[in-house]
Amino acid sequence: MSAVILAADGVNVSQNVGFGIIAAIMIFAALNVVTTKNVVHAALWLVVVLSGVAAQYILAAAEFVAISQVLVYIGAVMVLFLFGIMLTRAQIGKEAGLNNTGWVLGIPVGLVLFGLLAWVILDAFGDDLLPDRGPAPTVMLSDQFLGIYLIPFLAISFVLLAAAIGAIVLARKD
């Protein structure tokens, strides 16, 4: 990306380029997640998708969310996933019977769904530009969840607590 592009004002080419690349990778990875024949591979492709999402957050100037994405999703949830997988004897190599018998059904459904959504989206937000804002300072976030969204915030903590206890009890019932 040369100084020309950097200088170019209005629609920011470099961002679009970046977006395009990342998006392509994400789609490819996502497709792999749902088609690959090995659970661990699927998990790793999912990691790619998630990092892609994080990158998109950055592009969308949501710095804190992006990093939370990395910390929680990649650092924690995926580890959880891998543990879960390895504890259920993920074998190395191709694994048969990961798909339902009627998996073909999924393709049309997916396509139709995507078509509908795309139509709606294009219809609604035809071509309005995203403002090129800097990153939202973290304090704004904390303002929100310590302000108007306080109740859902506490609710979430309740949910987490319930999840923790429930999951532990489930897992350790022996």
Partner: protein
């Protein structure tokens, strides 16, 4: 492009640099190193005898429990940091809220602890 994005571009460069370094050295090594595979080389190392058995037991489940607790507290950290960064701003109110928050999550840990779920076996 904003400074903010450039910084993150730097991150990308570093990531690529890591892969490049690793890849480059591996590539060089590939030019030099010999490769003479044979059967014994291929089998897993198990103190010199044939690998015994496959799979492993499900009572490794405890790993899962700890991972789960880790996730929960990780999420907690996500919410703690913004508050911690500008703590004066929220004063006592934020303090109380966060204490409630922490205590709530600690309950999970304490519960597991009391139920003896943190024991290793």
């Amino acid at each position: 492009m904003s400074v903010f994005l450039r910084d993150y571009l730097t991150v990308v460069w570093f990531g690529l640099a890591a892969l490049a370094v690793g890849g480059l050295l591996l590539g060089l090594a590939a030019l030099v190193r010999p490769s003479r595979p044979n059967y014994d080389k291929g089998i897993a190392y198990e103190s010199g005898v044939d690998p015994v058995g496959i799979g492993w037991s499900q009572s490794q489940i405890r790993y899962y429990v700890f991972a789960l607790l880790f996730v929960i507290f990780d999420v907690e950290a996500v919410f703690l940091f913004p508050w911690a960064a500008n703590i004066e701003r929220y004063g006592t109110f934020g303090l109380v809220t966060m204490l409630i928050f922490i205590v709530l999550l600690l309950d999970g840990l304490v519960y597991a602890w009391k139920r003896g779920l943190l024991r290793w076996v």
